[in-house]
């Protein structure tokens, strides 16, 4: 127990000592962290700050940014049905991408970690290999496979099942499938880490106490992996919300998503301030996802 009276006499001296050491420790840590901090500052904090600043400015008739503070861009965003619809669609797509990638990723990760297949290394290479292919190449791949005249539809047509049977290009479903496949390797790797960290003894203990494999999974493995699944979901959702190449190449003009919208505002409409405002909205939605995850899992820690 602390005794405030007995402590009183030595407090000043120990306080000074503490400051001395704290100061020293601070210096060392600062020295170690500063390169990373600087990098983050100039590659991330500064651009975001500029973007945030610009989003509250407006442009004059000739397109030059004027230093007048305004909420106009945000008012326009939230009163324009098209912007709102696009945001809603992006959130919906990101939600389903997350659902799909996490579900499939969990099954794959569970299989790799707990069933210890004999070809483990081979499967791992299969998981990681797609990461080496860029998103643009991947989207073209999907196009060739699933496009209206792609392999699958041609095959179905040859079988006499009609023309353009599967609608993939320029559909939300197409984006969701392509995007989930893009994020799947990442999700599998994250979830493998999560599942590997679960001591197999917990599962054995559950079985020794009378739980069948299914009940051991439901009562022990799943709950123990849940916070990791939450973290993977947030990462997946955030990345899916920012989907760009796949949205452009598979969604095209027909299925507009929010990240290409930012790009179009800036590049085609030369509306810098509006583009910045849309980007800020995107950022806020992502942060909300992180905060929700944090609240959901903090109470359990």
């Amino acid at each position: 127990m602390d005794n405030p009276i007995a402590d009183g006499g030595g407090r000043q001296l120990s306080g000074e000592l503490a400051n001395y050491f704290r100061g020293r420790k601070g210096v060392t840590i600062t020295a170690l962290v500063s390169p990373v901090a600087l990098l983050l500052l100039f590659s991330y904090v500064v651009p975001v700050a500029i973007l945030a600043g610009v989003s509250f400015l407006s442009q004059d008739a000739r397109g030059a940014i004027t230093p007048d503070f305004t909420l106009g861009n945000f008012v326009r965003f939230f009163s324009d049905p098209w912007f709102l619809f696009t945001l809603g669609r992006s959130i919906r797509i990101a939600f389903f991408v997350t659902l799909m990638a996490i579900t499939l990723g969990y099954v794959a990760a569970y299989y790799l970690v707990f069933k210890q297949p004999r070809l483990f290394e081979f499967y791992l290479i299969l998981v990681v290999a797609p990461v080496l292919v860029g998103n643009v190449v991947r989207a073209f791949g999907w196009q060739m496979l699933m496009g209206d005249s792609g392999l699958v539809n041609t095959f179905l047509w040859k079988l006499g099942l009609g023309e353009h049977t599967l609608r993939f290009m320029y559909t939300e479903t197409g984006i969701i499938i392509a995007d989930a496949s893009t994020l799947l390797p990442l999700v599998i790797l994250i979830l493998m880490g999560v599942l590997t960290r679960i001591d197999p003894a917990y599962i054995e203990a559950a079985k020794a106490l009378g739980a069948s494999g299914r009940r051991a999974f439901m009562n022990v493995t799943l709950p123990l992996s849940l916070s990791g699944v939450g973290a993977a979901s947030v990462i997946c959702f955030t990345l899916a919300l920012g989907t760009f190449e796949i949205a452009v190449l598979i969604g095209g003009k027909r299925v507009q998503m929010i990240a290409p919208l930012v790009y179009e505002q800036i590049t085609y409409a030369f509306n810098w301030t509006m583009g910045a405002a849309v980007a800020m909205v995107l950022l806020v939605v992502s942060v909300v996802g992180i905060v929700i995850h944090d609240i959901a899992f903090r109470s359990k820690k």
Binding site: Y202, A205, A206, A208, L209, G210, S212, N219, L224
Partner: protein, 358 residues
């Protein structure tokens, strides 16, 4: 009331690749007794216990519990209590829910679960900690939760894998008593793994000494300590002075230095290669002027342990014997002292060494 069952291992084998972890073990565990599997690291104790529990599949052989062949019965249907070395308490559940887990899996009604969990926590003296998280418990408390969790379903037998190895010494001594106490009170067939000989000697009804995937000897603690059947057991359980020699069939043996030793009464007729074991605590150090009988020697070194003193004496002929004495009896002993050693012939034990040995 729970059944009190026997467990029988019929020639069980477990191979991991090229490693024969358990190599043709046959054992019967009688109902209601506490057995300790004792042996050095890697000798197959855990593997044996896991095969009994069903957590590990057998390479060959069969296991019977209460007369029923359970070799192909999965873990969750064997109805055994298992306490893991690291306890494996579920970190996402309270103490209460950990203990209730086995009952929930057996779909007990919730009122019965409540009473049983209470009784079980009472048994291990943890009443009042129901709502704690596992992380908020000390090592000893976690150990007892693990025990309560394993016992609450009234399993047919209790299996413990080094249950005390993560506790500090005082707590370990205390828990030894508690586990033994509970085991006796419930009269449950229990198999415990340890590599700590003191633990084995103090807790077991019977000790199974294992080495290299094989059973070396099965017997009461006294059997194992006093009458080891092999040099391995003699060395592994307790400290031992081992003197190898040739027995001549007329009640004595001669060691390589030509010194004669009398054989204990029950081994007088032995002949051939033998090893004599004398426990360090069975040898007395006497003043050379007081006795004429006994072995002559010189004190080489001594080490003080408080209640006891360990003395190394070099015999004429160059053999060193280690002796544990009451510290009072050897007060003032100094290196270089000339002494007489005395032990009762019948406190020694002779092990026959097979001819193909070495």
């Amino acid at each position: 009331m729970r059944d009190v069952v026997s467990i029988r291992l019929e020639d069980i084998v477990k191979r991991f690749g090229d490693v024969k972890a358990v190599n043709h073990v046959a054992l019967t565990f009688d109902p209601g007794k506490l057995y300790v599997l004792l042996g050095p690291s890697g000798c197959g104790k855990t593997t044996t216990l896991r095969m009994i529990s069903g957590l590990e599949e057998l390479t060959s052989g069969s296991i019977y519990i209460g007369g029923e062949d359970v070799t192909n019965v999965p873990v969750h249907e064997r109805d055994l209590g298992f306490v893991f070395q690291q306890y494996a308490l579920f970190p996402h559940m309270s103490v209460e829910n950990n203990v209730a887990f086995g009952l929930r899996m057996r779909r007990y009604p919730s009122t019965e679960i409540d009473t049983r969990v209470k009784a079980s926590l009472g048994l291990v003296q943890l009443s009042g900690l129901e709502r704690r998280r596992i992380r908020q418990l000390s090592g000893g408390q976690q150990q007892r939760v693990a025990l309560a969790r394993a016992l609450v379903t009234e399993p047919r037998a209790l299996l413990l894998d080094e249950p005390l190895s993560n506790l500090d010494k005082n707590l370990r001594d205390d828990m030894r008593g508690q586990i033994r106490d509970i085991q006796k009170r419930l009269g449950i067939t229990t198999i415990m793994v340890t590599h700590d000989q003191t633990e084995a000697l103090s807790m077991a009804d019977e000790i199974v000494v294992m080495n290299n995937g094989l059973v070396e000897q099965v017997g009461t603690p006294e059997d194992i300590y006093r009458r080891p059947s092999s040099l391995f057991t003699a060395h592994f359980v307790g400290a031992a002075n081992i003197i190898e020699g040739i027995a001549n069939g007329n009640g004595s043996m001669v060691d390589s230095a030509g010194v004669n030793y009398r054989l204990p009464a029950d081994r007088k007729s032995l002949s051939g290669k033998v090893a004599m074991m004398i426990r360090p605590s069975d040898i007395q150090i006497l003043d050379k002027d007081l006795v004429t009988d006994g072995l002559d020697g010189t004190v080489l070194s001594s080490m003080y342990f408080g209640a006891t003193r360990k003395v190394i004496v070099r015999l004429e002929g160059g053999r060193d014997l280690s002796i544990d004495t009451n510290e009072r009896e050897t007060r003032g002993i100094a290196d270089g002292d000339i002494v007489k050693l005395y032990y009762e012939t019948d406190s020694s034990h002779v092990i026959r060494i097979p001819d193909d040995h070495g």
